[in-house]
Symmetry: C2
Subunit: 257 residues, 2 copies
DNA sequence: TAAATAGTGTCTCTTAGACATTATGGT
DNA sequence: ACCATAATGTCTAAGAGACACTATTTA
């Protein structure tokens, strides 16, 4: 049997093949809203997702995750990054793969297997874009609102639920908090970001834990200026707070020891 | 614009669509080989992967991961389970999604986006099958051997590498060890299974850690018989060893406290 | 001086980690 | 008696967890 025979016998023409393989992106951001109490205080933070309103069939007029079809010449991740930039203008952000959504009938256009990604975007990057193009209707919605009260296109509610569940887990198990923080931050800010994503996170002695346990010492370090002096910030408090920065180290986690 | 117009305008016919969406499965098992020293001792364990030899183009004659194309009527996970059963006869096993492999050119048959799964299979289930059908040439290979010394079809080396990396992480962060153990096991066995998957895992006081720390108490418990008596085993040692069983509880992991 | 956040002192109990020691029962 | 595995004793240092307390600056 020649190779061309083989090749012909494997031709996909005789099988039903998928009608498309899009990437959909759950874009998370944390908005900051200054309290107007006059006094310095930590801003109110809220976890939000970016949605776009569909302009065409199917689910015309409904809110949906941004995304679009992959091309033969790109990997799925490239597709996700391209769509992310096309639809929101943001690039070079933290993007992670969430999973495949392939339930039959999930898309009325046919057999369409979707790949979901999570993007964690600093509000600053997103706000810049919001003003820039208003050609497409986009919106930022509180995650709870979007999950509970909105009717979403396709299986996007399920995807969002999975994405939310994943970043809650990751928020505690990794240093993704840095995606929502400036390079140098106070422990108060970090604590607040964590609680914004994981409402149940109550750590009384948060500062103590970070600063006094050796096993977590390596994760972040005190920020210092050119002279080696410790840097502090009075952005959110009267008393100057020590600034910290992530080192890049993430400890391995184990349930056995 | 009528819906059929919309529908027509979205027809996938005018776009290039994928030529297939297969699932490939990395089947891990741990083989047990009794030492023939005569004395009772823990068996030698080894982490292995199951591969099949390809019978046709492309990569004819080369070893590859078992797998096959998804149908329009099934989810990817169903595809993976179906292929797993078709090719190895095992069912109802622990299966987890690994990720999508979509690099252009990864499959000479066309634009084929593959979905990788990990299956963790108890040797007993696999051995039963091995004898049953030898129509297809299958083989169990030590993971290091497969990764370092074998030429594999497609991007299957990369998939295997990712799968190995993932189960090493999961072995420490979850209770997947139970997939390789009988329902009741000794701490010696558990320790050995963990070290088989994670060679670097050296926990001197393993028994002590499991039995004396409150935070890990809930993960497993002493096995008891109908009368509530503690059960022990002398399968691997002279001195009877306490049997344990997993409770199903998995503690949340956090780097912050 | 009240408000708001940052950070320390102090105490108790638990855990980590290292090493030595004992236990069990067959060859 | 020796072996391989199982399990405990003992000690020290470190961490967890709770709560009260002090620190810093501005409205």
């Amino acid at each position: 049997m020649s190779q061309s025979d083989n090749e012909r016998s494997y031709s996909s023409a005789k099988y039903r093949t998928p009608d498309g393989a899009p990437a959909d992106i759950v874009i998370f951001t944390i908005t900051k809203q200054e309290k107007r109490s006059g006094k310095k205080s930590l801003p109110v933070r809220e976890l939000k997702v970016l949605l776009i309103r569909r302009k065409a069939w199917p689910f015309q007029g409904m809110w949906a995750l941004p995304g679009g079809f992959s091309k033969e010449t790109e990997t799925m991740e490239v597709t996700a990054r391209r769509e992310l930039e096309e639809e929101t203008g943001v690039r070079d952000v933290h993007l992670e793969y969430l999973g495949v959504y392939s339930a039959p009938g999930r898309d009325p256009r046919g057999w369409i297997i979707s790949h979901a990604y999570c993007a964690l975007v600093n509000e600053a990057l997103l706000a810049h874009r919001q003003a820039a193009d208003d050609a497409e209707e986009v919106g930022l919605f509180a995650i709870d609102d979007a999950l509970e009260n909105m009717e979403l296109a396709f299986d996007h509610r399920e995807i969002m639920r999975d994405a939310y569940s994943k970043i809650r887990e990751q928020m505690l198990a990794s240093t993704i908090a840095k995606q929502f923080l400036p390079e140098r931050f106070t422990l108060g800010e970090l604590h607040q970001v964590i609680r914004t994503v994981v409402p149940g996170f109550e750590e009384h002695n948060f500062i103590r834990k970070i600063t006094s346990t050796q096993s977590r010492k390596g994760i972040m370090e005190e920020a210092r200026d050119a002279n080696g002096e410790k840097q502090t910030s009075i952005e959110y408090s009267q008393r100057p707070a020590q600034l910290y920065r992530f080192t890049g180290y993430e400890p391995p986690l184990s349930i056995y020891g």
